[in-house]
Symmetry: C2
Subunit: 287 residues, 2 copies
């Protein structure tokens, strides 16, 4: 099954739009692990143990998992081994749940192909996030992997997003992020494997992008710790079938408790998010 | 010494603007290594041996070295170990020659800080390339490292650069890459550690950026294999002191010969590039 088939199956059979962000901060997880098991293992083992506990606790509520690679790479080799082991764990035990490697890669063609190898071969991810600044040819090596998902940054959830993404472009003064949305939908999606990253913190922008790109799916960061409102995000971003969204929460789920009950608390947080999302969907069963 | 002090010292004392790109492709280097030493070592050792040979052959001609991380990451852990060992080799033997890790990283603030740790701590690079699409706050964790260089993608050397970077912005229809150049020079360079990536393949754009940003230094890819003209790049991009450029060549130096003489051939290619550059500088000694 390709990435998008997996996602659509999760949307309908598991009835969830929740994406669980696996961005472990060792400083924050070590106390929780120590409380739960008596000792905090060293970073590489600790991160893997933490991720496995979060995965077990939330997998039936997850439409996808999304590890952010910088959290692992900042720890060096051991961190990257923990990331690889996390993906292997998911592939072995939950092959039906897709994994998006949030890497925001980009480079010119021949080098972008190396990044595609890193993401899809070395880590075996089902999908990746990429930056559009270098243009279509820089995205091609990712787009050419028709069985993998490619989420292109469009309107991000951070305040600085306005520096470039909101700039008025061309004779009609359309903001740059809308130009990116249209390029993605009309020129870059020849294999039908493109999605967009559109932050929950700006529901008007989410609505504007949805109006431009039909049912193209969105990865939506920014609910929870970043302050995005779930109801506004769902109502502004859902597609005609009441789906089309992967709404990501990382810190809100991972750090729901810093005690021994961290996994149970993560489950409750994921459940609340799923239910809050489903309550606003125009067609909650995803049909 | 900070990154820019090292660069300025190289420009003046070594009288070179050449940046040697360390982007080893194992398929291409294995035959050269085998020809030179009888056997081709496995990738991790082979890449390190190749890089060391290239470094020894070109270091007195190099203003900087620029490994592109995807070439290492695509090989997994072993590739990243070879990259780390290459940087350690440079830091130990040639601490006066700065290293730019070409990673084109970007993410929102808290995650960008992790990428900064990856680049500056895990790999110990002196400088990094970053993408501006997410705006100023995403660059801040890099910019805050005043002793390190931050090269912001401005006008890249690939054909697809025009998709976003050339779009006319605002009431005066200035292309986006010029807006990025001005943001970089006027708003983001508070620590004086910013440079721009401007491709050699579009000398008119190079000239336009130079006119906007005073003596802000440029990292210039695109000569050699990508077809950029050295003379046009130097005449269009140099600063008032006849410097201000790091002109990168990767394949043109690394693969100057595929035989046992690959290191000597790399030296000749670097020397020719240095001389071709210096012949066009308005003030070749860098004063």
């Amino acid at each position: 099954m390709g990435f998008w088939e997996k996602v659509r199956a999760r949307w309908s059979t598991a009835n969830t739009l929740v994406c669980v962000g696996l961005d472990p901060d060792y400083e924050r997880i070590a106390p929780a692990l120590a409380a739960a098991s008596g000792t905090a293992p060293p970073p590489e083992d600790g991160i893997l143990a933490f991720n496995r506990a979060i995965i077990e606790a939330t997998v039936d509520l997850a439409a996808a998992f999304k590890p952010q690679i910088a959290h692992y790479a900042a720890l060096g080799e051991g961190g990257l081994r923990a990331l690889q082991a996390t993906l292997r764990h998911l592939q072995t035990h939950y092959p039906e749940v897709p994994v998006i490697l949030d890497a925001k890669r980009n480079d010119i063609g021949s080098t972008a192909a190396r990044y595609a190898t890193e993401v899809f071969e070395v880590f075996g991810a089902d999908a990746v996030t990429v930056s559009p600044y270098l243009g279509g040819d820089s995205l091609q090596p990712f787009l050419d992997r028709a069985d993998r998902g490619v989420f292109i940054l469009c309107r991000t959830s951070n305040p600085g997003a306005r520096d470039l993404q909101d700039l008025p472009v061309g004779s009609d003064g359309r903001p740059l992020y809308q130009v990116v949305a249209q390029l993605a939908a009309e020129r870059w999606n020849t294999h039908g494997n493109v999605g967009l990253v559109v932050g929950a913190t700006y529901p008007d922008e989410l609505r504007a992008v949805r109006a431009l790109v039909g049912d193209l799916p969105f990865l939506v960061p920014g609910v929870g710790a970043q302050g995005g409102d779930v109801e506004a995000a769902v109502r502004s971003g859902q597609d005609r079938g009441g789906a089309g969204l992967l709404i990501n929460s990382s810190r809100g789920i991972l750090y729901a408790s810093s005690g021994a009950d961290f996994a149970a608390a993560a489950r409750r947080a994921a459940q609340e998010l799923r239910d809050a999302i489903n309550a606003c969907r125009s067609c909650p069963s995803g049909h």
